[in-house]
């Protein structure tokens, strides 16, 4: 079953890289939606149902943690944080806010594939 994915990252390069990495990891990608910050991501979610959200932390307008907290008020879509924030404190903060998994940048296809397999149970 193809996944409909929302990528949330202020870097267009990173959004392209994540898309490519997901395909390299063997993920069956359907439609890939993109947002450059948390505000745009929330707008996407009001009109679209997605299977998975991959979200950066440090973004302008609305950062990833704030987006996660806002999204969790309405949606239970699996969220994987993809970020350079790698301290245990930040990881705990994200998980407490409702993230399903946390992958530190830079990441390999294997690393992200393993994480998504655990989150999506496949």
């Amino acid at each position: 079953m193809s996944l409909k994915v929302l990528l949330v990252d202020d870097s267009a390069v990173m959004r392209k890289m994540v898309t490519r990495t997901l395909r390299q990891a063997g993920i069956d990608l359907g439609e890939v939606l993109e947002a450059a910050n948390g505000i745009e991501a929330l707008e996407v979610l009001t009109n679209q149902v997605v299977d998975l959200i991959l979200c950066d932390w440090n973004m302008p307008e609305m950062d990833g943690l704030t987006f996660l907290k806002e999204a969790r008020k309405q949606y239970q879509t699996p969220v994987v944080m993809l970020t350079t924030e790698s301290s245990q404190e930040k990881i705990s903060e994200a998980m407490a806010a409702g993230a399903n998994a946390y992958v530190s940048k830079p990441f390999t296809p294997e690393k992200i594939g393993t994480s998504l397999s655990q989150v999506l149970g496949s």
């Binding site: 267009a12 390069v13 990173m14 490519r20 350079t84 790698s86 301290s87 404190e89 940048k105 830079p106």
Partner: protein, 141 residues
Amino acid sequence: MMVTEEFTQVTSTEETLEAAAPKSVDVSAISSGSGFELSFSGKVNGRVVVRCSPEGGQNIAGSMLMMDAEELSHDDVSDAMGECANMICGALKVRLGGADDDFQLSIPTPLTTAPDLPRESGGALLYQLSRGLVSIEVWRD
């Protein structure tokens, strides 16, 4: 790191790059390329600057996006360097911040001019890529 090219460290110095780089390395190319700056704050305040020569930027962006240099736009290279700066600082954060719970890194901002950096305390690494140069500078305020 998604970059597959070999990084060869040319110099590690507490002096300015211009003063300490080997004579065989033309560091002036760095000043004409892309650069990003991040500030950090906490118990220690300062800045991290990541700069590259035009060829170095294309090299890195091309590796990240798996595209040839000719296909890359200026925005692609700039964006890739910003993301590299972000990832480098993420790795540095633990070393710079240690157990400092208040340690914060800013979002990378593009360098529009050569940064007026305090040279009193800090250092730089200069890397020779297969094509181009990349420098990573860490300076304390």
